[in-house]
Symmetry: C2
Subunit: 230 residues, 2 copies
Amino acid sequence: MTLSADERVALARLEENPRAIRRGQIIQREQDPVRELFVLSRGRVMSYVMMPDGQRQILRIFVAGDFIGAVSTVFGRAQESLMAITDGEICPFDKPALRALIDQHPRVAALMFMISQMERVALTDRLASLGRAPAKARVAAFLLDMIDRLRLMDRDVTDSFALRMTQEDMGDALGLTAVHVNRMLRQLEDDGLIARAKGQITLLDEPGLKAISHYVNRFDAVDLEWLSAD
Amino acid sequence: MTLSADERVALARLEENPRAIRRGQIIQREQDPVRELFVLSRGRVMSYVMMPDGQRQILRIFVAGDFIGAVSTVFGRAQESLMAITDGEICPFDKPALRALIDQHPRVAALMFMISQMERVALTDRLASLGRAPAKARVAAFLLDMIDRLRLMDRDVTDSFALRMTQEDMGDALGLTAVHVNRMLRQLEDDGLIARAKGQITLLDEPGLKAISHYVNRFDAVDLEWLSAD
DNA sequence: CGAACTGTTGAATTGGGTCAATCCATGTGG
DNA sequence: CCACATGGATTGACCCAATTCAACAGTTCG
């Protein structure tokens, strides 16, 4: 799907007001009234919910290029918190801007619907992972998902990437404790599937990782025809 | 949000071609090419994915009145299987019909976007539940979610409903074994929180259930204003 | 009536959690 | 440049929630 020049300009306009964010900064808190959506132009951000007992469930790790916050347009209040994992830059835009974009560029609207549906599929994959996979498989799947998404945005990424998050964070994403994440990473390393050095993860044996993780890359089979009829 | 007569008619037209389904019938299989969406007019349906090792993760239980299959519009192939849990009736309609509906009734399109976002929130809730809650809390949350959704569609539902699914199914939805689901149900019963009789579940102490389950009903705070400006 | 599910309960096992100590890298103020 | 504080990673010992295995009881339905 190729966008028209017009559409490109409209999308670029969303990135007009960059704002710097610092590691650890809370961008949005659960239950806050929401007026803005974001494009993440640099850095990493995570979304999460807190359980009443203080536990945290990380829902999603966003990387540079991701579009954050479609859900909030529906609910008056934020359903999830956003925190910067690293320093970076976000480009906020408000609901009227979104509304205008959708009205003037129906295909962009369709594109955004698509993105939101792909997010949904990512969620169901993680649901299956948390519900049915043992710890080692979850960690492996997490690493594979991470690198695939980084590759999507940056062609230079090959078999290695910077994790840039603590094992505690990984645990909260995978429904495990930090201690156990550590043990699983060590096992993957001992098995010769990955290598670690100063926060860099190198995938030494992707087929092997895929075999234990049940991971599927779903971004092949996207059907764009149904909306291209203009 | 009140719909115009026109809009109502358009929505009703989707239910023009009812098709009967039988308990256990597979309506759609993962990876099948998809051309249809559905409205479920009677009965219960579940969506699920299979893991390579034969495990099943149930993603969602649909009840009468639910709208099934928005994801499939994006991917050419089904990302999840659909199976009838009980006998019932579905009303299929094809992608062009959806396209026409969206083009002619923008507010209905917005409504459908909203529904898909609410589905997403439901998914994140389950994700947090699977990732961070113990078995008893998951079962309690499941029961509360179920009854709230049935109430939404049917005003006669008060504190009791028919489960209409096996404990095996519940286990596959909650990431537990059937055996453990059984034990948790028994515990909830012993605690005086629920009563069971011939597949009917009665919630004796909803506040108590909510307390252990961390359950939140999120369908209060839906913001409709942003799309009502026509 | 019998076969095939489904539900129930007990006993033994185990994956992952908890607790706690130690290591290590980084940063900071003096 | 050093002393110390801090946040994270790592590892071991022990514990417990949930699984597995197994037997049996009820239900449903051909």
